[in-house]
């Protein structure tokens, strides 16, 4: 295969030049780029980069929200045989500096002043960076520094370059091979420094075409580009598959207008991490609690019918006529309007991945009528390579492998993958590459899992996080944490129990949901910290955990894993403090370190503990928060603890 994204873009411009390729909402209206306009923008920018000295193999740093020009820049770099390196836009200066330095980035495109300010903060250690290109000029009108250059200026240089270099770009694009590296995706890394995963066009395209076949992705499908550009999933979807399969990408106006923009576009394919799905769920739950009895009644009846149907379908059982009718009515009266409100009315395929989604949340969203399916993959496998097919959605497994992917379980219970979508290596880190991919091409995923009888994959947890309680019960923290997060009042949870007698939890309350609850229950507070320590809130969380414990008690294997004690943290776990990754995965070693005192107090049966936690503010400065945290026993769980 000699396909590369630049070649495919040229093909699109030629074969479907007038079709909508990319839209952006600006000043209140959706503005469209057709494939030929897209190609023109890319061409002009690429020639501009060439004029500035961008060479084959050079790396382009990309930092900012999803904007057409950021995608144009990435493709432009690829045209010249370069590699894009996108960084999470909410990274603090030091994280940004590490990646740009490690990846040997020579040009950076930054969305706006907020990002260029960070680059200037790092300043000296960005010695290799020749130019910083910016998209939004607001705040940078009077910038005279040589380092900075506007996107339009680069394109103007490109026009000039074109005059004396006919056919330069076409020649460069021709040189591109599918075995060339297209992108470096730095993994957020729950342990250690981020590593640069190198993915070639082959890696990505084999996955894209195979997924198209397996899942039925169509030309003209509408996608929303709202997930971080640094995430491999967005590169795969909004750039890779959009160009390869000719799908239309829509960039929302701002993060705050996301919900409205979703509604206006009505995407047909939607991918989101569990956090987004949980947010949608919380929104619905919280709003329905506020609704009047009539609306709430109709909603509850419709959802009850739908959940019943969902359960039966998942277990392959037939649906009685009466239930089918009630469900149809429920869909017409409640669920369809609800889907429309959430902006998912046109969604044909919806996926969740990146981290496990709680089974209750999954079932509920499917019951609302969203064709939600699990997928599984990682940056090192060029994004997802295991999918649940339509009609096979369930919460136990993550689906079947694509036709190009082989899956096997190692002797130690770790999931291994093999196929053309496996990455070619970590940049400048051969040791890590060797540790991850063995001599026969099997890649270690770091996840513990099993294969079911009908060749579906089941993921249990991160291999190194799965452990046992002292009473022999298996302890899979993520599984428990997901159950806790199903409660609208719990935003984040960390479950502890390795080498202990029982499971305990540290939780973050969901401020949005609790503000409303506090108002309705006459609980006064002057801020997040105070609210988190209110006895009423503790009682509420206690009840929530109690419900989850009751659920766990039903399964003999999980009985011993009921949560016995908990505390509510007085500050949200934050990526800026290193407690979670940028994709909100818990970093257990960091948590064990920072909150060691709290964990000790929990297991020593204290009723409260004093803490002094260091925090990093958005501008990078640090401070510390002092607080007294309450620790509570979960009601009704005492019996399990005594028995341990």
């Amino acid at each position: 295969m000699t396909d590369t994204f630049p070649k495919l873009l040229l093909r699109n411009a030629k074969e479907a030049g007038d079709q909508d390729a990319l839209r952006e909402k600006n000043y209140g209206i959706w503005r469209t780029y057709t494939w030929s306009m897209y190609a023109t923008e890319v061409r002009r920018f690429a020639l501009g980069l060439a004029a500035l000295g961008f060479e084959r193999g050079d790396k382009l740093g990309v930092i900012g929200d999803n904007r057409p020009r950021m995608y144009f820049a990435m493709l432009a770099a690829e045209c010249l045989g370069g590699i894009s390196v996108a960084v999470y836009q909410d990274s603090i200066a030091s994280e940004l500096g590490y990646i740009l330095e490690h990846a040997d980035v020579t040009f950076v495109i930054a969305e706006n002043e907020e990002q260029t300010d960070k680059l200037y903060d790092i300043g000296d250690s960005l010695g290799k960076v020749k130019k910083i290109i910016f998209d939004d000029p607001r705040g940078l009108e009077r910038a005279t520094d040589e380092w900075l250059i506007a996107f339009e200026s680069v394109q103007a240089k490109g026009d000039e370059f074109a005059r004396s270099n006919e056919g330069y770009l076409e020649a460069e694009i021709e040189k591109g091979q599918s075995s060339d590296v297209a992108v470096f995706c730095y993994t957020s890394g729950t342990t250690g420094d981020p590593k640069g995963v190198m993915l070639t066009y082959d890696n990505l395209l084999t996955g894209i075409y195979s997924t198209q076949k397996a899942e039925g992705l169509l030309e003209g499908d509408e996608l929303m580009a709202y997930l971080p550009m640094a995430w491999v999933g967005d590169f795969w979807l909004s750039l890779g598959s959009a160009v390869a399969l000719r799908m239309t990408v829509n960039c929302p106006e701002k993060r705050e207008t996301l919900n409205r923009d979703f509604r206006e576009i009505g995407p047909t394919v939607m991918v989101a991490p569990p956090a987004v799905w949980e947010q949608i769920l919380t929104r619905v739950q919280v709003r329905m609690e506020e609704a009047d009895w009539f609306k709430r009644g109709r909603y509850e009846k419709a959802m009850a019918a739908a959940l019943e149907v969902e359960q039966l379908t998942q277990h392959g059982k037939p649906i009685p006529a009466g239930l089918a009718f009630r469900n149809w009515l429920g869909d017409w009266l409640v669920r369809k309007p609800l889907r429309d409100l959430l902006g998912v009315a046109n969604v044909r395929l919806a996926y969740t991945g990146g981290a496990p989604l709680g089974p209750d949340a999954f079932d509920f969203l499917r019951a609302i009528g969203i064709n939600l399916k699990q997928l599984y993959g990682m940056t090192e496998s060029s994004s997802a390579c295991v999918y649940q097919a339509d009609g096979q959605a369930n919460t136990e497994t993550v689906g079947r492998a694509l036709d190009i992917t082989e899956v096997k379980i190692s002797d130690s219970g770790e999931i291994l993958l093999r196929g053309p979508m496996v990455f070619v290596g970590y940049y400048k880190n051969d040791d890590a590459t060797r540790e991850t991919i063995d001599t026969e091409g099997w890649m270690a995923t770091g996840d513990a899992g099993i294969m079911t009888d009908d060749s579906q994959l089941k993921v249990i947890d991160r291999a190194k996080d799965v452990s046992k309680l002292n009473n022999g019960t298996m302890f899979a923290p993520q599984f428990l944490e997901n159950k806790l997060k199903f409660s609208p009042y719990i935003k984040e949870a960390v479950c502890l129990g390795k080498d202990e007698n029982y499971v305990s939890a540290m939780v973050n309350i969901d401020l949005e949901a609790l503000e409303i609850w506090a108002e309705r229950n006459n609980v006064t507070y002057s801020g997040y910290q105070e609210l988190s320590q209110k006895i009423e809130v503790y009682d509420l969380i206690n009840a929530e955990i109690g419900r989850i414990n009751a659920d766990l008690a039903q399964d003999s294997a999980l009985e011993g894993a009921q949560v016995q004690r908990f505390l509510v943290l007085n500050k949200e776990l934050d990526a800026d403090d290193g407690e979670v990754t940028r994709t909100r995965k818990i970093r257990r070693s960091v948590i064990a370190d920072r909150y060691g005192q709290l964990i000790k107090a929990i297991y020593e049966n204290e009723a409260q503990v004093e803490t002094d936690i260091q925090v990093t503010y958005e501008d990078g400065s640090t401070g510390s928060i002092h607080a007294d945290l309450r620790i509570m026993d979960v009601s009704g769980a005492a019996s399990v603890r005594a028995a341990a």
Partner: protein, 255 residues
């Protein structure tokens, strides 16, 4: 284009109360003039006189050489003077964008009938006005509440929308009556940024009444101090800060 507003010897009496006597100022394009003074000093009265809410009993108000005395407030607005109000005067039942489009009312040429039927010229005009309003929405970061009803917004945002409505009229002179009232530090910083952006990007002269001394000292080019209707001091922020008469007026002195 250089704009200039000159107020000389303005005086206003309400029955036996002399709200204003002999007050004056001279504001030019791209300048920010602050009017400060204790409560009841006559600051809002001065603004009302300038914008034509009532005519001055004495003195003159001149815009770019043209005398404004005696003109109605609608006529004065048409000449290019826009203002905000101390207690916010938005239309609560209309959306943010609708309120701001109203600011462009005087610039609209289409008549009742063509607007009603939304014919050709009216359509084009509406698009132009909407584009300009969207630019201001973007400048003032109001994009996510664009469609919200003005009455449902918190005070800080209402004030921002009022500023937007005043800006929508492309004013030559912008009168801001306590734009930072009731805001916390972050909100004040944002408002200051917007006011500074306005003088940077346009030829507008800004006259602002403010109580927050930090704001006054930080962003104004020139300060006029009123007390009990008369001007007791003026000059650059530094000059005024060390003016004894001003200090006495604010802190009170047993003279």
């Amino acid at each position: 284009m250089e704009n200039s507003l000159v107020v000389e010897g303005a005086a206003k009496r309400f029955g036996g109360v002399t709200a204003l006597s002999g007050a004056g100022l001279h504001a030019k394009s791209k300048e920010i003039h602050a009017i400060i003074g204790p409560n009841g000093a006559g600051k809002t009265t001065l603004i009302n006189v300038i914008s034509g809410v009532y005519p001055p009993d004495d003195g003159t108000v001149t815009l770019n050489g043209e005398l404004l005395n005696g003109l109605r407030s609608t006529q004065i607005a048409r000449k290019g003077i826009a203002r905000t109000f101390q207690n916010v005067a938005l239309f609560a039942g209309m959306t943010v964008v609708q309120n701001m489009l109203l600011g462009r009312n005087m610039l609209m040429k289409s008549g009742v009938l063509s607007c009603g039927w939304f014919w050709g010229a009216a359509r084009r005009e509406e698009a132009e006005h909407r584009e300009r309003v969207e630019e201001i929405v973007d400048l003032l970061n109001l994009t996510d509440i664009r469609g919200s009803l003005a009455g449902s917004l918190p005070l800080g945002l209402k004030k921002r929308v009022e500023l937007g409505r005043a800006l929508a009229a492309n004013p030559k002179i912008l009168l801001l009556d306590e734009p930072m009232g009731g805001m916390n530090i972050e909100e004040k910083e944002d408002m200051c940024r917007y006011v500074l952006d306005v003088v940077e990007l346009t030829d507008t002269a800004v006259i602002l009444i403010e109580h927050d001394m930090g704001v006054v000292m930080d962003i104004s080019d020139y300060v006029v101090v009123l007390d009990q209707g008369t001007k007791i001091g003026e000059g650059t922020p530094e000059e005024v800060r060390s003016n004894q008469a001003v200090i006495d007026a604010y802190l009170g002195a047993s003279h």
